[in-house]
């Protein structure tokens, strides 16, 4: 082979390898579990990675039980995007890019319930309505975990103590989403376990792809009381366009 062709190949090789690389993210070791409240107050010092032309930053922390992610953006476009469509992500505890376990936060962006149907709500006492309303708010603001293989979903209320959890906050123009992902979990059809000796976790994050007209509940009857808590929640009828979606994949290196 003539030298110039060798150089041509050599020129492409680094591009090839850099292009195929999933973004690496080093997780920080936690001394004690983090409280999921949507703030970074208790987070250890960590180096975030930046996505989407530095519009989104992500940092990770873990203990033996959970992986925690903090996703921040001060970009108005991405703030709006998260507000409308919530957060969609995938977790692959084997470190790959499997989409079997799909996560939506808040759950209300993808799960629906019309509490008005059947007259059941109307027969509750006022006190019972208050309690049921609070419970529905917890479910709406919780985390929806969808198993793509068997097409079933588990909903973790916002106050879930041991499973998936997420919270969001907005401070000084910056939106923060804090997520807790169990590294070992078994409930109903959902079984997840970090394989022995596995040091990385694959995380996929989707942005964009806003749907026409926001989200259309299967039944329009609104339950009396708020159902839009838990962060983004709003379903504005003004969001009438489809934005292109993007998928980012991270390889999170767990701290031992």
């Amino acid at each position: 082979m003539k030298p110039k062709y060798f150089y041509l190949l050599a020129l492409f090789l680094p591009l090839i390898f850099s292009g195929c690389k999933t973004i690496g993210l080093n997780s920080s070791r936690l001394a004690q579990p983090l409280e999921i409240n949507g703030t970074l107050d208790n987070w250890p010092k960590a180096f975030p990675v930046f996505l989407a032309d530095s519009s989104i930053s992500i940092q990770a922390a873990n203990d033996d039980m959970y992986l925690y992610l903090a996703i921040s953006t001060d970009d108005p476009e991405y703030r709006e995007d998260f507000r409308h469509t919530g957060l969609t992500m995938w977790v692959d505890l084997k470190g790959g890019k499997s989409k079997q376990v799909e996560i939506h936060f808040p759950a209300s962006t993808h799960a629906r319930f019309n509490a008005r149907q059947g007259g059941f709500w109307q027969s509750l006492t006022e006190e019972e309505k208050t309690r049921a309303s609070e419970e529905l708010d917890q479910l709406a603001g919780g985390v929806l975990v969808y198993n793509q293989n068997i097409k079933q979903a588990l909903n973790f209320p916002a106050n879930d103590a041991s499973g998936f959890a997420a919270a969001t906050s907005r401070f000084d123009g910056e939106k923060i989403i804090e997520i807790r992902i169990p590294l070992q979990f078994q409930k109903d059809f959902l079984a997840m376990e970090l394989p022995q000796g596995q040091k990385t976790v694959g995380i996929g994050i989707e942005t964009g792809g806003r749907t026409r007209g926001g989200f259309q509940p299967p039944n329009s009857g609104e339950r009396p009381g708020a159902m839009r808590r838990g962060g983004f929640g709003g379903r504005s009828s003004r969001s009438r366009f489809i934005a292109e979606s993007k998928e980012f994949w991270l390889e999170v290196h767990l701290a031992k």
């Binding site: 492409f12 090839i16 039944n219 998928e247």
Partner: protein
């Protein structure tokens, strides 16, 4: 050109084009595998998931039928110029679309269990709730149908005296409700395509329709039918395989829509 031996020991020519080809192949791979993201339509969209635990939503959907014109549409709405797809369809001849739910014991039990769980009721509260619900909805006295009645036209079409609602057995007996409880009119949102109204410009092509959200009037109506047919046979007995729910225009009896519950299927799911 160079002559070399390949792995079979054969002589093979390696041209400069092969090198360029391989380089381009790698370049293609580079582009196709993407940098850190790939672009796509929103793939993670999951439809029809219930926010609440348990099987209430599934049972509810199993017991709910769509009662609509055969053509799947309505007449042209005077309120909606250009109104066509994206919700109620165009081209039919009936002004109502109804989602009717057969409130049999499986739906009612499932609903009572769900709501008592959501409200964290004590056993006493649950008993009181069940009694209250059964009293308010005449459970055991009538056959309860919960219906969401909507129209793309004006609220006038939701006046129930324009219509006659009935159940029809397989033998053709038509039974009217003994009681009707109407709820207030609310507005339901649909996606609707509308043609732009701009007529000041001319174009060789049709203007792109806009997808807009329109709110159509609808109301909840509770229908309470006798439990039995004229011969005293329970309407939900195993003697019947299906039960029809129909609506006719009181001033134009040929205007009729109907839907049917497959009772055998519902029994098999219990």
């Amino acid at each position: 050109m160079q002559n070399k031996l390949n792995w079979l020991g054969e002589k093979k020519n390696i041209s400069r084009f092969a090198v360029i080809f391989i380089s381009l192949l790698f370049l293609t791979l580079l582009i196709s595998c993407g940098a850190s993201y790939t672009k796509m339509d929103r793939s993670g969209f999951v439809q029809g998931i219930s926010l609440v635990p348990g099987d209430f939503d599934k049972i509810w959907n199993d017991h709910t039928i769509l009662v609509a014109p055969q053509s799947g549409g309505f007449g042209r709405s005077p309120m909606m110029p250009g109104f066509s797809r994206g919700g109620p369809q165009g081209g039919g001849s009936f002004e109502l679309i109804i989602r009717a739910t057969l409130m049999d014991s499986s739906v009612i039990d499932s609903g009572l269990n769900l709501y008592s769980r959501l409200a964290s009721m004590s056993p006493e509260e649950k008993n009181a709730y069940k009694t209250r619900y059964n009293d308010e909805h005449f459970v055991g006295k009538y056959l309860f149908i919960w219906a969401n009645v909507g129209t793309p036209f004006s609220d006038e079409y939701l006046k129930l005296d324009r219509w006659t609602f009935f159940l029809e057995t397989e033998s053709g007996q038509q039974i009217e409700p003994a009681k009707i409880v109407e709820h207030g009119i609310s507005r339901q949102e649909f996606n609707v395509e509308e043609q732009p109204a701009d007529t000041t410009t001319t174009s060789m092509t049709e203007p792109e329709p806009n997808l807009v959200r329109r709110r159509f009037p609808n109301k909840i109506v509770e229908f309470y039918f006798p439990l039995t047919n004229f011969d005293g046979v329970p309407l939900l007995s195993k003697q019947f395989k299906e039960l029809k729910f129909g609506v006719v225009n009181t001033k134009k009896l040929e205007d009729k829509i109907e839907g049917a519950w497959n009772l055998e299927t519902l029994r098999s799911k219990e």
